[in-house]
């Protein structure tokens, strides 16, 4: 169960370094076990609080940060934003319990580029980490639907920069939401199958909010910073 079934060749010649942030000990242990057992992935540290996570990131500069959202001393979104801001080269992956659209998209907007379910099978998790490094972001039908809806009803437009999606990107989201495979979507839109993931990555980038002013705005919105005192 804890072995990595897929001995894939390393991407480039270097190992992926990973920092894992998760406050529930059994889940953390399970995930850590899975990651450690896999070739090509080096788990550098695990953390159970925001504080510890910051320290670990500063110390290890991981290629991939895997983080839960609900942490005892704060919200994972803040960590994601900081890491995105300070170490832009790091890829960030969110661990979600049920993959609910709201927290996933919030994390994406903070700068995450992938998510995995907490009960994922080892195969899926490792594949997700590799996929992320290779520039593939996972997207489910429900997330695609959620993004379309939010972009259409203007929920994203109250803050700048507004993530305006191109018609093609919207078409791809619709295809995913309606249950078509990447092949089907590529055929219908006259694209090659390989370009579909890059479109999805692009959509992620558009949703991402990583300007400093935006972060301050968000912080004020969350009452982390108080003005006028």
């Amino acid at each position: 169960m804890s072995s990595c079934p897929d001995d894939r060749p390393l991407a480039g010649s270097h190992q992926l370094t990973v920092v894992l942030v998760e406050d529930d000990p059994p889940t953390r242990d399970h995930l850590a076990e899975t990651l450690t057992a896999c070739n090509g992935i080096a788990l550098l540290a695990t953390a159970d609080t925001l504080e510890a996570a910051r320290a670990a990131c500063e110390r290890f500069l991981p290629t991939v940060l895997i983080t839960d959202l609900q942490l005892p001393d704060g919200h994972g979104t803040d960590l994601i934003r900081e890491v995105r801001d300070r170490y832009p080269a790091s890829e960030i992956m969110v661990i979600s319990v049920l993959g609910d659209e709201d927290s996933v998209v919030t994390a994406i907007r903070a700068g995450a580029s992938g998510y995995i379910l907490k009960d994922s099978e080892p195969v899926d998790m490792v594949e997700a980490v590799h996929g992320l490094i290779e520039g593939r972001s996972p997207i489910s039908a429900s997330i695609a639907r959620y993004i379309i809806r939010r972009v259409q009803d203007g929920s994203f437009k109250d803050r700048k920069p507004a993530p305006l999606l191109t018609p093609r990107e919207t078409d791809i989201l619709w295809g995913i939401a309606k249950g078509f495979t990447y092949n089907d979507i590529a055929d219908r839109l006259g694209l090659s199958r390989q370009t579909v993931p890059s479109y999805i990555k692009n959509i992620y980038r558009k949703l991402e909010v990583n300007s400093r002013s935006e972060a301050v705005y968000e912080a004020i919105g969350r009452k982390l910073i108080q003005l006028g005192e």
Binding site: L98, D124, A141, S142, R145, A177, K178, G179, F180
Partner: protein, 629 residues
């Protein structure tokens, strides 16, 4: 002012008691003014010579006096004339003394006269009234002042000769005459001129303009018959006074004579107007009244003057009076039986007019007396008409006010109704929401109870068994999680799109198959737009597909499961296929087939299981989703 007062009385309860005394007072005032009118006179000039005696001789023609001796008469004086176009006239000779050391300009003032006059001083013709206006209207009286050129005045006795000529009518009239300095006489002349000439002209113009105005009102509101009838009355009455404003040379004598007949038009319209004025329906036969003026006019144009004259006096005038009395009757009924204030106003004005005319009528028919300082045949009629005009305008404005008020009320009522409707709608929506929420809540409770609760119970039971393995426990927990995810997926808000719903299932089943090392061949064909399934239908469908797919993955031995979704003629077909060993149908119970059939029945779908050596096809035909599901 009185209109305002009386109108106001209608409204308030405590003032209603005062109504009778106020109306009584109103009529008393009218009577007093009417009877007392002759007492109002203009003061004579403060100087000059008053000539109240004259020597009189009838005239045979304009230039030839009758061969009879002169008779001394006192002024004012009237004489009987044959009338109806036949010549009738008289020559008045008066004398006054003039002292030569008076350097002032002298004039002769004739304050009132009727008909045509020619004035000679010391034998020189100074004035002919035909130079300025028509002398043919019997009812009109005129003032005139004639300046005497200085060379004409002699020291000592000077003579004034006035030839009075009447063509139409019975009776000539000449008032007291004044001779004296122009500066003393002219202000008095101006007063008479204003009252006898200017005022009627003003009223004429006002009346004419008002007639046009009413015509416009009627043109826009055709149902207001009183407006057009009254416009007609005003118009024809104005016509009858055309001579006041129109110099004779501008119109042919025929037109002038025709205007004399306008009384027939006016009286023909009186009765229908009186009816509509008091808000009653005029008799249908009112149209026949038109025969009256038409008859009068044709008689005038076709018959010889003598007969016309007789017909006029013995038929037309009585008919006119009859019609007027009928109209008065209608008004009186409305005033005294129905308490109509406006009818009271009109009756009062009528009474005043009649009283004034009564003063003058005897003079027209031969008696001798001083005439009123105003023209009794135009001023009171104008006054009466003005009262009616005022009332009509008042009504018009009041109607506009009523419309405004009605609008305001309507707007308020609509706003109220809207507010009430909004509240009831909000309540209804809240109720609907509550019902929907309740239904969803109970469904969710049932779904969780059917699925995860049972699995948790089974896990608890498992934990009590001594021989339980950790793996069994994990499997049970995983199954519970899978079902929980299905419940959540079934609740996804996908609008009306079955494709989106099935896409959720794909996201859900793909990781499970990958765990088992089975490839998923997902073939989604474009589905027609249509109503989606309800959450409960979606959940049953998901559970059915979950079972079918996992059966294929676990038991068929194939390493690939195909799920194909395509539209059919009457719905959607979902096929879960494998190329495994088949035999699914042969093992009832083992595959949970009974369970799948039950679920298919629940959502109204047809389930076919084709299982053979080439593999198993689970074919699910879903009816076209409708909103009611």
């Amino acid at each position: 002012m009185a209109v305002r007062l009386v109108e106001a009385l209608e409204g308030r309860g405590w003032l209603r008691l005062l109504r009778r005394p106020v109306i009584g007072l109103f009529y008393l005032t009218v009577l007093a003014v009417g009877i007392g009118t002759p007492l109002f006179t203009l003061s004579p000039p403060e100087g000059g010579i008053e000539l109240d005696r004259a020597m009189f001789r009838p005239l045979e023609t304009l230039d030839r006096p009758a061969d009879v001796p002169e008779a001394a008469v006192s002024l004012p004086h009237s004489f009987r004339v044959p009338g109806a176009g036949r010549f009738g006239g008289g020559l008045y000779r008066l004398e006054f003394d003039h002292s030569p050391d008076d350097p002032e300009q002298w004039s002769v003032l004739i304050p009132n006269y009727s008909g045509r006059i020619l004035v000679r001083v010391n034998g020189a013709l100074l004035y002919d009234s035909d130079w300025t206006h028509s002398g043919q209207i019997v009812t009109l009286i005129w003032p005139d002042i004639i300046a005497i050129p200085a060379p004409l005045l002699k020291a000592g006795t000077n003579s004034v000769e006035i030839s009075a000529v009447m063509l139409f009518g019975r009776q000539s009239y000449l008032s007291v005459i004044h001779a004296g300095p122009d500066s003393l006489l002219r202000p008095v002349y101006q007063q008479h001129h204003f009252l006898l000439v200017i005022l009627p002209q003003l009223l004429f113009r006002w009346q004419f303009a008002f007639s046009v105005m009413l015509l416009i009102v009627w043109a826009v509101r055709r149902s207001e018959w009183s407006y057009i009838l009254y416009a007609g009355i005003l118009f024809f009455n104005s016509i009858s006074n055309l001579v006041v404003v129109l110099p004779e040379p501008l119109a042919s004598p025929l037109v002038m004579q025709l205007t004399n007949l306008s009384f027939s038009w006016v009286t023909a319209m009186l009765v229908p107007f009186a009816f509509s004025f008091v808000n009653r329906r005029p008799p249908r036969a009112s149209v026949l009244f038109a025969a009256f003026p038409v008859g009068v006019t044709s008689a005038f144009l076709l018959l010889p003057p003598g007969i016309v004259h007789v017909l006029n006096w013995y038929v037309a005038v009585p008919v006119a009076w009859g019609l007027s009395c009928w109209a008065l009757g209608v008004l009186s009924y409305a005033a005294f039986r129905r308490g109509s204030n406006s009818a009271h106003m009109v009756l009062g004005a009528t009474l005043l007019s009649l009283l004034m005319i009564l003063h003058e009528a005897p003079i027209l028919y031969g008696s001798v007396g001083k005439r009123l300082f105003i023209n009794p045949f135009s001023i009171p009629i104008f006054m009466l008409l003005s009262v009616i005009s005022t009332i009509l305008m008042w009504r018009f404005a009041a109607a506009l006010n009523a419309v405004d008020q009605f609008n305001a009320n309507l707007r308020r009522e609509i706003a109220d109704a809207e507010a009430a409707l909004r509240i009831s709608l909000a309540r209804e929506q809240a109720q609907e929401r509550a019902i929907a929420l309740e239904a969803e809540r109970s469904r969710l409770t049932r779904d969780l109870h059917d699925g995860i609760a049972g699995q948790l119970v089974s896990m608890v039971a498992l934990s009590r068994r001594t021989d339980a393995q950790v793996g069994d426990f994990g499997t049970a927990a995983r199954r519970a999680l899978v079902d929980l995810r299905l419940v959540i997926a079934s609740m996804a808000e996908v609008g009306d799109d079955p494709g989106m719903m099935l896409a959720n299932f794909r996201d859900h089943i793909q990781p499970q198959l990958r765990t088992l090392g089975i490839a998923l061949d997902w073939q989604m064909h474009a589905l027609p737009e249509g109503a989606g399934w309800s959450s409960s239908t979606a959940l049953e469908l998901f559970r059915l597909l979950q079972e079918a797919t996992m059966n294929a993955a676990r038991h068929s031995g194939a390493d690939r499961v195909t799920i194909e979704i395509r539209p059919t003629d009457d719905g959607i077909r979902v096929v879960v296929a494998d190329k495994g060993r088949g035999g699914a149908a042969d093992r009832p119970g083992g595959y949970g087939l009974a369970n799948m059939r039950r679920r298919a029945r629940t959502i109204g779908a047809r389930l076919d299981i084709v299982s053979g050596p080439d593999g198993t096809n689970i074919i699910l035909d879903l009816p076209r989703p409708t909103a009611s599901q």
